[in-house]
């Protein structure tokens, strides 16, 4: 309740390492056990009426063994998860320039709206006449996506970027089949995101890597040389994973199309160009958009997301079920292949149960309506401006493999660390001590010891300047041979460096009860 006046506090800098504690906690940073070590199978955090099942209709399949699930009361649950949360970095609390991941601010309005019962408490299979507002919202979002990309069609159901890639590649595969052809190869630039080759492989294609040119873009000549009648398509990220715009898009599209192949564009970085560039004018055939990046649905520690795919007229008929239709009777879903065929479509199938990531749709549409055309353009401009500002402010001391202008992210390599004893990973871990989430490291693979910095448009200049100052200081320190402080980093995080090798060698993937002594 109250403090008496204490003695004047000592002003010497005490040694924090001397501050070993009895509890193991450190001030506001708490150690926290596993729920299985806290709770108990007899404990529950819900109050439900006891039901005596005098009879049942379980067909003799009642569970015979206990599960072993720990239960916790609400106070315990609250403490557990609040403490765990406090051991995470987040965009809300710090700059999080994780390249290729678009860690931008997530507006809280969008969270509120996604929780309106009219969106959150409706069932995917209730009669369609009872969900006209929901279907209208999906239609409206589809309209924005088509207009922004300049593409005539969109498949809304893919559940993330990689799922969108799969959708797009399956459409390409279906289109080729529809032409009665068989094409087996997909060309993928070496800077591609890992999901690109993985997706192509999932569709049964062989993946052929196309090397990058000196300027960090696709080598057009190499691409042309690789094109042949067995090439189904190319998967190209644009802006690419070096943060650069593929200048030769139109030439690439022409070459690909001339070879009878399709042009898949990985649009995960659409945020760099939204409202300024219509990819539809570049000759692409399919492109997924990560609503969880470009349109700011929160990343949630790894998901969920949504990866709608826009299609060119060529691929549009192959879009998966369900199809969204708006006619005089209102909004309607076509969920049946025959009905789709009757409507002139030849769907590639169904990407998932139900109709897509409604929760993300609401947030993305709220984001779009909030920004409007003008705001979205500003998003792209500020994202690109911020990345170029970082590039310009660091490139004299941190080596940049490609000249600017970059798009939404600035790429550096480890040339500047040569002979310092410090490596890219050390820079990342040191940034943790400095209160920043590190940039993406060792990706893309095309440069050595890559550091990919994506500031996004929602970062204030003061924050960029602080980061720049720290990076410059770190470069200086590395050059001064102060590698010790790097190797031991992070010192100030809830954990020091974790042994990933041991984790993989003898995987412990779940808790198990201690064997009784």
């Amino acid at each position: 309740m109250m403090n008496a006046q204490g003695r004047p506090t000592s002003s010497g800098i005490a040694d924090k390492s001397a501050a070993a504690t009895t509890s193991g906690h450190h001030g506001l940073d708490h150690e926290e056990k596993l729920i299985f070590e806290i709770g108990h199978t007899d404990v529950t955090g819900v109050d439900l009426p006891e039901m005596d099942l005098a009879t049942n209709r379980l067909g003799g399949l009642a569970r015979r063994q206990p599960i072993g699930l720990a239960g916790l009361t609400e106070p315990q649950v609250m403490r557990h998860y609040v403490r765990l949360s406090q051991r995470n970095a987040s965009i809300d609390a710090s700059f999080y320039p994780l390249g290729s991941c678009t860690m931008k601010h997530n507006p809280r309005l969008n969270e509120k709206l996604a929780r309106l019962p009219g969106f959150a408490d409706i069932h995917p299979l209730q009669p369609q006449k009872t969900v006209q507002g929901a279907l209208c919202l999906i239609g409206e979002l589809a309209r924005w996506l088509k207009e922004l990309t300049g593409m005539p069609a969109v498949a809304m159901t893919p559940k993330a970027g990689a799922h969108g890639e799969l959708c797009g590649m399956l459409a390409i595969r279906a289109a080729i089949s529809a032409r009665g052809e068989t094409r087996t190869r997909i060309l993928v630039p070496e800077s591609a995101h890992g999901t690109n080759p993985a997706t192509a492989a999932l569709c049964g294609f062989t993946v052929e890597s196309i090397k990058a040119a000196e300027d960090g873009r696709v080598d057009l000549a190499a691409l042309k040389a690789a094109l042949a009648t067995d090439v189904a398509g190319i998967m190209l990220t644009n802006p690419n994973t070096c943060g650069l715009f593929e200048r030769d898009m139109i030439a690439i599209a022409d070459a690909v199309h001339a070879a009878g192949a399709y042009f898949y564009c990985d649009g995960a970085n659409f945020n760099a160009i939204v409202g300024r560039v219509k990819p539809g004018a570049l000759g692409i055939d399919a492109m997924h958009i990560n609503l969880h990046k470009s349109f700011s649905t929160p990343h949630g520690g790894g998901g969920p997301g949504a990866g709608p795919v826009v299609f060119s007229a060529l691929l549009a008929p192959f879009a998966p079920l369900p199809l969204f239709v708006h006619d005089s009777n209102g909004f309607r879903l076509i969920e049946d292949m025959d009905e789709a065929r009757a409507a002139g479509a030849t769907p590639l199938g169904r990407m998932c149960a139900f109709h897509g990531q409604m929760g993300m749709f609401v947030r993305a549409l709220a984001y779009m309506l909030s920004h409007g055309e003008d705001g979205l353009r500003q998003v792209a401009e500020d994202a690109v401006l911020s990345a170029n500002y970082i590039l310009a402010s660091l490139k004299d001391v941190v080596s940049a493999p490609y000249d600017g202008p970059c798009m939404h992210e600035a790429l550096f390599d480890d040339e500047f660390l040569k002979d310092t004893g410090v490596i890219t990973l050390d820079i990342a871990k040191r940034l943790i001590d400095e209160g920043f989430h590190p940039m993406t490291v060792y990706f893309p693979l095309v440069v050595h010891g890559a550091m990919l910095i994506e500031p996004t448009e929602t970062e204030p200049k003061a924050s960029l300047d602080e980061f720049i100052a720290v990076m410059r200081a770190l470069a200086q320190e590395a050059n001064d041979g102060n590698f010790d402080r790097f190797w031991n980093a992070p010192l100030l995080a809830p954990r020091r460096r974790l042994d990933e090798t041991a984790a993989a060698r003898k995987p412990i993937l779940r808790w198990r009860p201690e064997p009784a002594a």
């Binding site: 015979r64 699930l69 609250m78 991941c101 969900v131 025959d338």
Partner: protein, 446 residues
């Protein structure tokens, strides 16, 4: 713009530092035809305006909470404790990325480790991953995994597997091999053993199935194993696992499930959370992320993402799956809800669900010409009505009762299923909901 912190002064200063005179110059690599300064879209809007616009759309939907509501078929309405939604909105969970920097992501990593353990426990399996998109895509991934493990590529699907799941499997795994689907047999355990042969990688069986029917998986597990095939068990209602024998205990090799019932709302179909569990020996063939335990340089327990050599960002075209973003936050909600329930609560909840379904089935099947098709069930059963279910459900919707999912929506080409209605009951249905349903159905059928 309220979300954009750069001021005009900031922008000028930054352009000066870059050494260009306008932001246009930064876009100079974009081919001219694609530069699109104008779109047929409105300008920015204030929070209140956006809220009004979307609230108007929301108000045009009949919410499950606004009246008697009985839809299931892969998505279930359960009561989620308020603390769940509170916790998943914590900035540190909501606005963090995949935990690639474990030292500052111990929160998310420990949650995933706990989630994996919970999923393994309830499914009766040894290991589980850190989530898939949803149950349907998890099922497709399970088929692909079975192909990899067995070196075979023929999958047999039960005819009573949720048709959306079957279609997703055919779409996502169709290029990787043959998919055989058994005929649909509402209320009856289908005979899959004859379809299994030496080329069969797996049999996919849902339990309870799409009609709500419970089946003993042991016979089909034995039949599959006898031919060297794997049994993939699909669970779309995880609450059932509080009362029903786990797939693991009945011999499943892989469990693919939908976790929405725990911690997650109906959300018109997404986002949901795919559960994926299997035996330890198959772990290196699993798709998706895995959190694992390790120690830090001071010897303290900590968690990291592990076995990444299965994943696309390391293995690229050789990865076990292309999945990257998954359902992290939904997995968190699942895990919190299940931590609150614990064994005791999950069991109680399952009992209440079963009891509710028993009561409702009894009430409705007393109505003349209404037949209960599913002899054994958990919280969902199928009725055969004397009229097309679409008409009945529509008429009931007009009375404010969402009566269930008509089988014809899922099986549009099965005239025999035209009159079938799939009905789910959960703890959220009150006695008066069920009374109202009974009365209204009797009226509509009278």
């Amino acid at each position: 713009m309220r979300y954009l912190p750069l001021t005009p002064d900031d922008r000028s200063a930054m352009l000066a530092k870059i050494g260009v005179s306008s932001v246009d110059e930064l876009f100079r690599d974009v081919p001219a035809p694609a530069r699109a300064p104008r779109f047929a879209l409105p300008a920015h809007a204030g929070e209140m305006e956006v809220e009004r616009a979307l609230a108007r759309l929301a108000a045009q939907n009949t919410t499950a909470g606004s009246g008697p509501f009985f839809c299931g078929a892969g998505a279930y309405r359960h009561y989620v404790p308020a603390s769940v939604d509170h916790l998943i909105q914590r900035s540190e969970f909501l606005t963090s990325y995949t935990p690639y920097q474990p030292e500052i992501a111990q929160g998310t990593l420990q949650v995933l480790f706990e989630f994996q353990t919970q999923v393994a426990l309830i499914t009766g399996m040894e290991v589980a991953n850190a989530s898939m998109y949803d149950g349907s895509t998890a099922t497709a991934e399970a088929v692909l995994m079975a192909h990899r493990i067995t070196g075979r590529n023929r999958a047999v699907l039960s005819g009573n597997l949720h048709p959306h799941y079957a279609e997703t499997v055919r779409t996502m795994a169709g290029l990787a091999g043959e998919i055989v689907t058994a005929p649909v047999t509402p209320g009856v355990v289908d005979e899959l053993a004859p379809l299994i042969d030496a080329g069969t990688s797996c049999v996919v069986v849902q339990n309870p199935d799409v009609f709500g029917l419970l089946r003993d998986l042991k016979p089909i597990a034995e039949a599959a194993h006898a031919k060297g095939a794997l049994l993939i068990a699909v669970v779309t209602e995880p609450i059932s696992l509080g009362l029903v024998e786990s797939p693991g205990a009945m011999g499943a090799d892989i469990v693919a499930g939908e976790g929405q019932s725990l911690g997650n709302g109906l959300n018109f179909g997404g986002p949901y959370v795919g559960l994926f569990a299997t035996r330890e020996k198959f772990v290196r063939q699993m798709p998706g992320r895995l959190a694992g335990q390790t120690t830090d340089s001071l010897g303290r327990r900590g968690f990291v993402l592990t076995l990444s050599a299965r994943e696309q960002h390391i293995r690229r075209e050789k990865a076990t799956s292309n999945i990257c973003t998954n359902s992290g936050l939904c997995a968190l909600a699942f895990s919190i809800h299940l931590a609150l329930l614990g064994e005791t609560g999950l069991n109680q909840l399952a009992r209440i669900n079963h009891m509710r379904a028993l009561q409702l089935a009894e009430r409705l099947s007393c109505i003349p010409n209404v037949e209960l098709v599913t002899p054994a069930f958990f919280n969902e059963f199928t009725l055969k009505l004397p009229k097309p279910a679409v008409d009945v459900a529509d008429a009931l919707a007009d009375l404010g009762i969402i009566a269930g999912v008509r089988a014809s929506r899922l099986y549009p080409h099965q005239p025999a299923l035209r009159n079938h209605l799939i009905v789910a009951a959960t703890e959220t249905n009150t006695d008066s909901d069920m009374e109202a349903y009974g009365r209204a159905l009797a009226e509509v059928l009278a």
